[in-house]
């Protein structure tokens, strides 16, 4: 187990290193001078040159890469050139929005999708299954920004139950914060839940066709016990894989939802940093996202072992 973990960590670090080089290279190739961008169209060339010097843009490429990597190793992500504050602070400010949002969406998505998937699988081909599956088909097809706007118009503009967007900050209290994240998490979770429900149903159907299910039923076990104890546990592997992928998506891929609800999350920070050519913020953020995907995958792998003891011994 420990050997396995060490191996996984090693692979993870290699991935991070490769990602850092790739990110750095891409940001170098990207056209656009950050100094020119900040000073705009009326700036004199000497002012731009002075700013370039200040921002360290005139240092040699390899030197900049090495000093950046060196900083990362000791936990120094550098300073944002546009905001002129430490990158890690910027990320931390945004993570307190994105992380709770991702977790709320994840909880919502699992709570909806798994029971629905099981329900549909248990009633395969019958009315319940068909109607649930057509609704999930709709859920997969509806673009989430459109769904988000629909929610805003109903719950914020018409019913005035929640704010139309924005985030008051956690120091305004727990409830105002949760309230601000309510609609966004629903808008994020439902389309994802539709996908997960379909995966759950598929995985369940496969397992339900196995011999041991028939045996369990034949020896007189109640239907529900067979469904939840025998079938679900065995169907969890593909479901966990999808959940892991969805969590990574919820953490980083929420740009559109963050725009619709004007939430100051990680997705918006990334977008702003790219348009402002705040290279060091983009690089730091991507490294963090890569790291979080690696960690999520590791957690999912470990979870496989929990649901299926056979995988534990094989490792």
């Amino acid at each position: 187990m420990i050997v396995y973990l060490a191996k996984r960590l090693g692979i993870g670090l290699m991935t991070l290193l490769l990602a850092s080089a790739a990110v750095f290279a891409v940001m170098e190739i990207l056209p656009g001078d950050p100094a020119q961008l900040m000073l705009g169209m009326n700036a004199s060339p000497d002012a731009i040159e002075a700013l370039r010097q200040q921002m360290g843009l005139n240092d040699p490429l390899v030197w900049r890469y090495l000093s950046w990597i060196g900083g990362l190793i000791v936990g120094d992500f550098g300073r944002s050139v546009t905001y002129s504050s430490p990158v890690l602070d910027l990320i931390a400010e945004r993570a307190v929005v994105s992380l709770p949002l991702a977790l709320m969406s994840l909880a919502l998505l699992v709570a909806i999708a798994i029971p629905v998937g099981i329900f549909a699988a248990a009633r395969r081909g019958r009315f319940g299954d068909v109607s649930v599956m057509s609704i999930t088909q709709l859920g997969v097809a509806v673009p989430n920004f459109w769904f988000a706007l629909l929610l805003v118009y109903v719950f914020a503009v018409w019913l005035r139950l929640v704010p139309s967007g924005g985030f008051p900050g956690w120091n305004a209290g727990l409830w105002p914060g949760v309230k601000a994240l309510l609609l966004p998490s629903i808008a994020l979770a439902l389309p994802q839940a539709a996908i997960l429900a379909r995966v759950t149903r598929g995985a369940m159907l496969e397992v339900l066709g196995e011999d041991y299910i028939r045996t369990a039923r034949a020896k007189g076990m109640p239907r529900n016990v067979v469904l939840w104890r025998h079938a679900l546990r065995n169907a969890m592997i593909p479901v966990l894989t999808i959940i892991g992928m969805q969590f990574a998506f919820l953490l980083a891929g929420t740009l559109i939802i963050e725009n619709v609800f004007y939430l100051p999350g990680l997705g918006r920070l990334l977008f702003q940093a790219i348009t402002q050519r705040d290279l060091i913020v983009v690089e730091g953020l991507i490294m963090l996202l890569v790291a979080s995907v690696i960690v999520v995958n590791l957690v999912v792998d470990l979870a496989y072992g929990v649901v299926d003891p056979r995988l534990r011994t094989r490792q």
């Binding site: 000073l39 169209m41 546009t82 706007l149 704010p163 967007g165 999350g265």
Partner: protein, 492 residues
């Protein structure tokens, strides 16, 4: 029981009504782009000035809502006979938000810092004519110019020329310390910027106790934010097609104003075939201005025929110089040696006026045989490829700096336009202070540009202000980038 219930209800209603009667003193203003930082002396982003100009920071002079020059920190000034020495008398008792006094030393520091070698002021040319700044006594500043400069007082009113203190200047990006009627309170990055009333302000106190600039990047989110009352004003609302919906709602006031943004179809004068006057004239004849205005600005833009704001008193209407005439355009192209037209590229930056205008212009130019390949580019890309490297044929952009006709005289500017006659007019303008003579020169400059068909002059970028019908004092136009809240108040 029933009686008590209705009594409670009546009392509650009375309380709510009573609370609503006292005029509100808070305001939430929506804005699309977040400022990268809050130091107007170190960046060109309009969003910086929108938040800070006149609210947090003040200069010697200021630009008023009609574009006029008004006294600000300088209560008065005298100009020497030769027009080279300006003596400013400062208001006394002015304090920065950190409690330090404003003196002539701060003025000297601010102007010297802006014009110093290694300065990163985005409008450094504004200070180019200053030869010396002297703090004669604590309340007097004497500025000597290299040569008389007609626009000097106007230049000192720009956001980039505001007065900062040496103790706090370095921290202004994060925590701006100015002398204005509002103090910086809080910046929740990505979300909002809050300013509060400055109780120690030297001038007339503002009506608002607190104002929040809330960043709403998505146009689709702006409308529900207004409709739900979360945001009570947009100085420049990204409403697009939803304008009729807002106009029909009596809770809101919609004010169409003017900006200083001359929106133009820029052409690369240094590159064939656009280096040929006939070709550029042909392009101008092929443009249907009204169609472009309808498509790219919801019909709200004011047509222009040169690089000048119609709101300015020196404006000459030159829109009739090249009327829409595709036949004439074709004839001119044939004369220039392109009877079958030519292929070219148009690079479009992200604003909707450019992207939508580009589609329309491409289809108009196709009618006369010019086939445009449309290349959408990001803003940073645009600055690099088009503005800096001059790697373009056509582009569409709004030049938002006020009174910026002189850009056509800059030798390395991206138009690659060189005309000695024009440069002479601009040079003369620079040393002329007499308003009547300046207007005359401005007129000449406009005419030369129009005749040379340097670019396709399209329209003045409109400003669609939307705010609560009970809100008063917002600026209708944008003579300089600012969401000036100093006169904003709620009607009783």
């Amino acid at each position: 029981m029933k009686l008590t219930k209705s009594l409670v209800l009546a009392t509650a209603l009375a309380l709510i009504a009573g609370a609503a009667e006292a005029a509100r003193t808070d305001l939430v203003v929506g804005m699309v782009l977040e400022p990268p930082h809050l130091d107007p002396t170190a960046g060109a982003a309009a969003a910086i000035d929108e938040v800070t100009y006149a609210n947090i920071f003040e200069g010697l002079t200021r630009i008023g809502r009609a574009g006029e020059v008004l006294p600000a920190l300088a209560e008065s000034w005298t100009i020497s006979e030769d027009g080279k020495t300006y003596t400013f008398k400062l208001h006394t008792g002015v304090k920065f938000h950190d409690g330090t006094d404003l003196t002539s030393e701060d003025v000297k520091f601010s102007l010297d810092r802006a014009r110093a070698e290694g300065s990163t002021n985005a409008q450094k040319p504004l200070f180019a004519q200053i030869a010396d700044v002297a703090a004669t006594d604590p309340a007097t500043v004497t500025i000597t110019l290299k040569q008389p400069q007609g626009a000097f007082l106007y230049n000192m009113g720009w956001g980039d020329a505001v007065i900062v203190a040496p103790e706090s200047a370095e921290g202004n990006k994060e925590k701006p310390i100015g002398t204005g009627p509002f103090k910086f309170d809080n910046w929740a990055k990505g979300s909002s910027i809050t300013i509060v009333k400055n109780p120690d302000y030297w001038g007339k106190a503002v009506a608002l106790d607190k104002a929040e600039f809330r960043i709403i990047p998505d146009a689709a989110a702006a409308i529900p934010a207004l409709l739900s009352g979360d945001v009570q004003a947009f100085a420049n609302a990204p409403v697009g097609d939803a304008l009729p919906q807002i106009e029909g709602d009596s809770r809101f006031k919609v004010v169409i104003g003017a900006t200083e943004g001359e929106t133009i179809l820029s052409m690369n004068n240094g590159k064939a075939p656009l280096n040929d006057l006939k070709v550029r004239q042909a392009v101008n004849y092929a443009l249907n201005r009204q169609e472009i205005i309808d498509g790219a600005s919801n019909g709200l833009g004011v047509p222009i025929g040169s690089h000048f704001s119609p709101a300015n008193e020196a404006y000459v209407d030159l829109t009739g110089m090249y009327p829409y005439d595709p036949a004439k355009a074709k004839a001119l192209l044939a004369e220039a040696g392109y009877p079958n037209g030519f292929d070219a590229k148009i690079k479009l930056p992200p604003p909707p006026y450019a992207r939508q205008g580009g589609e329309i212009i491409a289809s108009e130019l196709r009618q006369v045989g010019i086939n445009l390949e449309i290349i959408p580019v990001e803003w940073a890309d645009w600055l690099q490829q088009v503005f800096k490297d001059k790697d373009y044929d056509f582009t569409i952009i709004s030049h938002v700096e006020p009174n910026d006709i002189e850009i056509y005289s800059r030798p390395t500017y991206y138009f690659d336009y060189h005309n000695d006659a024009f440069n002479k007019v601009i040079a003369e303008l620079d040393v002329t202070a007499d308003p009547a003579k300046r207007n005359q020169l401005y007129k000449q400059a406009q005419e030369i540009l129009a005749k040379d068909a340097v670019v396709g002059f399209l329209f003045q970028l409109p400003k669609v202000g939307v705010w609560d019908a009970k809100l008063e004092g917002m600026w209708e136009n944008t003579p300089t980038p600012s969401i000036d809240l100093t006169e904003v108040h709620w009607a009783e």
